[in-house]
Each structure stands twice: as C-alpha cells, then as structure tokens.
Amino acid sequence: MVIFSWLADFIAYRLFHLDEATRLGEAVHFFIEDVTKIYVLLVLMIYVISFLRAGLNTDKVRSYLSGKHRFAGYTIAAGFGAVTPFCSCSSIPLFLGFTSARIPLGITMAFLITSPMINEVALVLLGSLLGLKFMIIYTVTGLIAGIAGGAFIDLIRAERLLMPIGRQALAYGEAGAASIASQELKRKLTGMQRHQFAVEEFTTIFKRIWIWVLLGVGLGAFLHGYIPEGYLENFLSGGDWWSVPAAVVVGIPLYANASGIIPAAQSLIAKGLPVGTTLAFMMSVVAASFPEFTMLRQVMKPKLLLIFFLMLLVFFTLAGWLFNILI
C-alpha cells in the first residue's frame, strides 16, 4: 500500500506544489491516496469475484433453496445474498419468483436483507478504509441480520400480510405451477466465458460506483483536512443511549450504496463518532431505503412494511450498542 502513498506524495506535493503542512495539502494527499488505492483494489476484487461467480444467478439460487430445511435455508439464503449482486429494482421479481417456488417468505427476506449489505465492493472499501477487523464485524453482523430477520418474518407468519399479488405467487407455489425452467440452469462455463463475464460485470459495476467512491472519499478528505480530530465527540458521545437508534432512524430511509457511505464513515469514526453508532448508521443506510420500501409496498401490506422497518431498527440499534460497548 506504500505505492499509493508515494503516488499521492508525487501528485500533491510535486505536481501541484502543495504544502504538506497545510490543510489543503493534507486533504488533497488523503484524497489521491485513497481514491487510487480503492480503484485498484476494486478492479482486482470485482474481476476475481465475478470470475468465480460467473454462472451463478438468482434462478440457480432459487432452485438450490427450494425444498431446503428452514433453518439451513436462512443461513444459505443469507450467504447467497452476500455473493449475489443485487439491484433494488429487481426485488419484486425476485420476491415473486422465490415465493412461487415455495421458498418460505423468511428465506426470501434473509436473501433480500443481506444482498445489498454485503458484496465485494463493500468489502474492499471496509477492508481498505476501516481495517480487516471492521470488515469482519460488518460481514458477520450483516449475515446475522439476514438470518434473524428471515426467521422472525416466518415466526410472525408474515404471509398473512402480503398484497394480493404476493398471495397469488404463494398460491402458484402451492399448486406446483411455477416452472423452474431456465435454459441456463445446467450450463457449464468455460474459462473464456468466465473472463468475458468478469470483464462485463466489472465494467457495469465500476461505471455505476466510481462517482460515489469519488464523492465519498472527497467528503472524507474534507472532513479529514478541515475538521479537528475528535470534533464529533462533543456532540455525539457514546454515552448517549439514544444516539444509536437516532442514527438508525435517519439511516433507514436514506438511499445510498456502500460505495458512497463507507468512505464517509471512515472519517466520521476518525472525528470521534463512536464505532457502533457509525456501524449502525452505515448498515441502515445500505440495507434499506425509501425507494425500496415503495417497491416492496407493491407486494407487502403497510403493516408488514412497518414490521420490517421496526425489525431493522431494533436489530441495528442492538448491534450499534453492542459495538459501542465492546470497541
């Protein structure tokens, strides 16, 4: 990682003739070092992960999950959620497709909760900006959120709270009418096809996120250079019990992906926001959003949406409190 620091030295101090001791110099250096490091790691990680997961799609996940025992199902679904890329625009077809294949609602929800939270982009950002320990904590918490959330949804028998179209999907499943007939279910991929897929994946993902990384790190660089260390501690000390749920309530409706929020989180921690509070805020921003709720509104009754919201609120708050105490 020294090479990125060296590159930033060169650009900020030699090319732009900025003074190392000034705030501007420090902020620019921070920005260049982080952006170049993250971009390079992202290129590598997205390529490698895409190469490995080429051929895995939601159809395969579904055929794998259908007929699994419930408790194994939650865990496997959360795991698949982590490795499958997710777009909130796909949540309705996924929901309907899984439900009509007789996959219990909770297992589908486990997938839907984990999928936006954990992916290679989030892992690269967490690992390089906040460290390995934080990355592991985030991943484990995200998986548990999916598993626990899914189990809870089944426990309250949430099928009762589906909109007519959701019930229709259920009915299809019970009648055994849903055809799990995808052309690609059994297709074997060659190395070349995997490579092509990985390049394509990489291009689409990178196109979508590069600007967010830039903005997130830019905000981080600003905070880094211009706000004194520990500044936020004055406002949000870890002692205030309500600061965690407040951060979660603000975070859930917000719409941002991991690529924008994680770089900013790094600076928030450095400026004194407690780790648990930051983690809780980050997760609630990434896991759910107002647009996703309006999407899910089409298949779920308002009551179920409210339960979903409260469930995330309680879980992220508990996680935030726990990490504020532990770390």
């Binding site: 799609n57 939601t58 579904r62 625009c89 796909s90 077809p93 849903a178 052309q183």
Partner: protein, 77 residues
C-alpha cells in the same frame, strides 16, 4: 414469432426492449415484440430477475440486457 419483454418499468427493461426491436429490425424477422409489465406474467413464467426475454412462451434469458447480436443468435438457436 412472439417476443415478450418482461419487467415493470425499470431502465434496464426499456434497454432490452430497444435492443430487441433493433435485433428484429436488422435481422428482418417477422416477429411481434411486446412489453409486458404485469407481475402475474412474471410469476407465470417463474422469473426471478428482470428484464426477461420470452420467445413463443419460452424464457430465453433473464436479468440481462442483451446486445442485438446476442438476441439474434438466441432467436435463431
């Protein structure tokens, strides 16, 4: 031939619809291209991600925006 593009109002669905029309046009096929945003159809075909391309009632592809050339080879194959 009847080609259905399934998926409710997402940007990628519109892209697939566009490239399918292009494919049909450039290959000079006698095909009817329909956009279907109805969730019931999605359930019926058992699709898990959109946009999906259905040709004469058979799901040929889902969750992908295909290029016109790929669509032509799917239609021929």
């Amino acid at each position: 031939m009847k080609i259905e593009i399934l998926g409710g109002g997402c940007a990628r669905c519109a892209q697939l619809y566009g490239s399918t029309q292009k494919a049909v046009g450039s290959a000079g096929l006698d095909a009817e291209v329909i956009k279907d945003e109805n969730f019931e159809t999605i359930i019926k075909y058992g699709i898990t991600s959109t946009p999906a391309l259905v040709v004469d009632g058979v799901v040929k592809s889902s969750g992908k925006v295909l290029r016109p050339a790929e669509i032509i080879s799917l239609l021929n194959g």
